[in-house]
């Protein structure tokens, strides 16, 4: 049987707006993925530890507070330090245009802005998660 895609939906930083994170978590579940939601106010260290423990294929980071430049590269770095080289990091939220290229240069696979459909996100994960046995 094909392994189901496992995704950690993470909400780093102090912000509590979790509407997006919860809608995405449910949409991914409805699309047949296994989803673990971290809950609010996770540090990059907590997120990386959860990703490793849950052996996920992708981490979806939800952030709108403006702290993405500090938090997202740190999450990527910590995942790589833990040997999770194939684990995708995707970001969703309010991210200024200028920051998108920089985040991608720092190892973020994709940035989804407001207005993105959940289907688009599901498709991206299906196409980009590394197949495992």
């Amino acid at each position: 049987m094909e392994r189901r895609i496992r995704v950690l939906v993470a909400k780093p930083g102090l912000d509590g707006h979790d509407r997006g994170a919860k809608v995405i978590a449910r949409a991914l579940r409805d699309a047949g993925m296994e989803v673990i939601y971290t809950g609010l106010r996770q540090t990059p260290e907590m997120i990386a530890a959860a990703a490793l423990q849950e052996d996920v294929d992708a981490v979806g980071v939800s952030i709108l507070s403006g702290a993405h430049n500090t938090l997202c590269p740190r999450i990527v770095e910590l995942l790589r330090e833990r040997g999770m080289d194939d684990c995708l990091v995707v970001v969703g939220g309010i991210i200024p245009k200028e920051d998108i290229a920089r985040l991608k240069g720092q190892g973020v696979s994709e940035v989804f802005l407001p207005g993105t459909s959940t289907e688009e996100i599901v498709n991206f994960l299906r196409e980009n998660v590394q197949p495992r046995t």
Binding site: G13, L14, D15, G16, H17, D18, R19, K22, V23, R26, A27, Y37, G39, L40, R41, T43, S65, G66, A67, N69, T70, L71, I94, P96, K97, L113, P114, G115, S117, T118, E119
Partner: protein
């Protein structure tokens, strides 16, 4: 039981005749655009509303005149003919110096009240130099860690004359104390100070989720501010019971209305249980609603809110004071409705939403800036938002008559529908034991999440249109808009002032005041006097919240 056949009223018979003779032939010739028509809350909307829909509404009993119970048509007999609503733009970013400059700019442009947005560390009760504040200082609002920051924030702004609204919740009592001490230093008389503290912790657990302490001690802190303000700052609104965030988190208009008013009832109950007199403290409870895209649904929501509150205060709490019955509210246009795509379209959305707030009889209004789906507003965007209100107020004529939509079959019928729906929710929540209990069970949280998901799906199926996103999309134009960038130097600046403050203050006075605060919290005394003393001694926000955490613990959200 034999089936009773309802006898059609003359109004219903007239509708049936119209359907038969006029409507049906028309539908045969050209069908309607859609099978079903729905509000943005996904509630059905009928083709036509007629006297048959409002037959059960009694004008004197249910609608009545403005300034009279149950205030459906407004709390002022003259509406906006006496005084316009307060134009109160929410602002705050970067350092207290920067925000002070924005405040003065907005006031020089005709804004009539101030509203402070604090950054996330402040909202969570952390100082700028806390490890948890990294990357967040000054980003979503202005950074305030101690009285020293507050002094800069209100420098040159006379707090006895200007009304200031503060969006702060979990640490609200501390920010209120800072505000009062700044006012005191300006020589202001507490009895003349007016303004509003958001201080609505229940909606934090439901929607916004900037909490610190567990629910019950957090409610105790709210009641402490009620008691303190009623005695010492009688013109100040110690709470703004907020549906705004519940709506932004995905609730429908009806859920926003129901949960917010039931939160309000919960605060009144806690105040009464603490020995406060309903007719003394409730007149200073204010409300805060969202203004979303569905124009008539929003107007009906505000009108229903006034009617429900008046009745609940009189019936549930036996309130005698008409001011206790009168629901006063602030409105903000829906941030969640703004789009990154084609951002200038947001100016139009905001104008229409603001108009709904005005036609619904709001006491004050914030209009969002068109660039808020991208970042915090620039000066230019903030100014257009203010000008939008001025155009509605002074060019459109909508403020010339009181409750211009009163008597509309549609609006009156929708108002009644909102009222009935909210009362259904009240019955469910009452059966759970109250709002605190229903939040502990995750009820409003789940209802809100469910609605958010339904709406997202309706958008993705194209049943709800978002212009520029799922219809009329173009190559992205957002790149052409200038946005406000807050850099990390803000944190360095704030940390520097914090270090200076810590080195200059009397450390003994700080630790004594914090001990006193812990004692007050432990003994169940009012915490406000000790909080004010700590603030005066320049104890920081983080230190004061830590002292309370020592006693109360912290809230952990269960998985819902």
């Amino acid at each position: 039981m034999p089936e009773v056949k309802e006898i059609a009223t003359p109004e219903q018979e007239a509708v049936e005749r119209w359907e038969r003779e006029t409507l049906e032939p028309a539908l045969r010739k050209s069908p309607e655009r859609k099978q079903k028509f729905e509000t943005v809350s996904l509630d059905p909307v009928n083709r036509l509303y007629t006297p048959a829909d409002t037959a059960e509404i009694d004008y004197e009993r249910d609608t009545s005149f403005p300034g009279e119970f149950p205030y459906t048509r407004g709390i002022h007999p003259t509406g906006y003919r006496g005084r316009l609503w307060t134009m109160r733009q929410f602002a705050g970013f970067s350092t207290p110096e920067e925000t002070n400059r924005r405040f003065k700019f907005l006031m020089s442009q005709g804004q009539t009240g101030l509203s402070v947005a604090y950054d996330l560390p402040t909202l969570m009760g952390y100082d700028a130099d806390s490890a948890l504040s990294e990357g967040e200082v000054g980003k979503c609002g202005v950074a305030v860690s101690s009285l020293a920051d507050m002094e800069v924030l209100f420098d040159g702004i006379p707090l006895e004359q200007v009304t200031v609204s503060q969006t702060i919740n979990a640490p609200a009592s501390v920010l209120l104390a800072m505000y009062l001490v700044v006012a005191e230093k300006q020589g202001a008389d507490f009895r003349k100070i007016s303004g509003t503290l958001q201080n609505d912790i229940l909606k934090e657990y439901i929607a916004q989720k900037e909490w610190i302490y567990p629910i019950r001690p957090a409610m105790k802190l709210v009641v402490d501010t009620f008691e303190f303000c009623t005695k010492n700052v009688p013109k100040y609104n110690p709470i703004s019971v907020s549906g705004y965030h519940i709506r932004e988190a995905g609730a429908t208009a009806l859920q926003e209305l129901a949960f917010t008013l039931r939160d309000g009832i919960e605060y009144v109950q806690w105040g009464v249980d603490a020995g406060l007199d309903v007719d003394e403290f409730v007149p200073r409870i204010s409300f805060f609603f969202n203004a979303h895209n569905d124009f008539f649904e929003e107007i009906a929501k505000y009108r229903a809110a006034r009617r429900i509150w008046a009745r609940e205060m009189r019936e549930r709490f036996r309130a005698q004071n008409p001011r206790t019955w009168q629901l006063r509210f602030h409105t903000q246009t829906a941030g969640v409705s703004l789009t990154v795509q084609q951002p200038l379209n947001n100016i139009v959305r905001v104008a229409i939403q603001a108009l709904a707030g005005v036609l619904g009889g709001t006491q004050s209004l914030h209009t969002d800036a068109y660039d808020e789906a991208l970042a915090l507003p620039t000066d230019k965007a903030a100014l257009i938002a203010l000008r939008t209100q001025q155009i509605i107020a002074e060019e459109t004529g909508v403020a010339n008559t009181v409750d211009p939509l009163g008597g509309s079959y549609f609006v009156e019928s929708l108002t009644k529908q909102m009222e009935d729906g909210a009362l259904d929710y009240f019955r469910k929540i009452d059966a759970m034991g109250g709002m605190v209990e229903s939040i502990e069970k995750g009820f409003p949280q789940r209802e809100t999440q469910e609605s958010a998901y339904r709406y997202q799906k309706a958008v993705e199926r194209g049943e709800q249109t978002i212009v520029g996103v799922n219809k009329y999309a173009m190559d992205d134009e957002s790149a052409t808009v200038d946005i406000l960038v807050i850099d990390e130097a803000v944190r360095e600046h704030q940390v520097e002032r914090l270090e200076q403050t810590r080195s200059r203050r009397d450390a003994g006075a700080v630790s004594n005041s914090l001990d006193k605060l812990r004692r007050a919290a432990r003994d169940g005394d009012n915490t406000m006097p000790a909080t004010i003393e700590a603030v005066r001694a320049y104890a920081t926000l983080g230190e004061i919240c830590s002292a309370l955490r020592d006693v109360y613990g912290v809230y952990e959200e269960p998985a819902f």
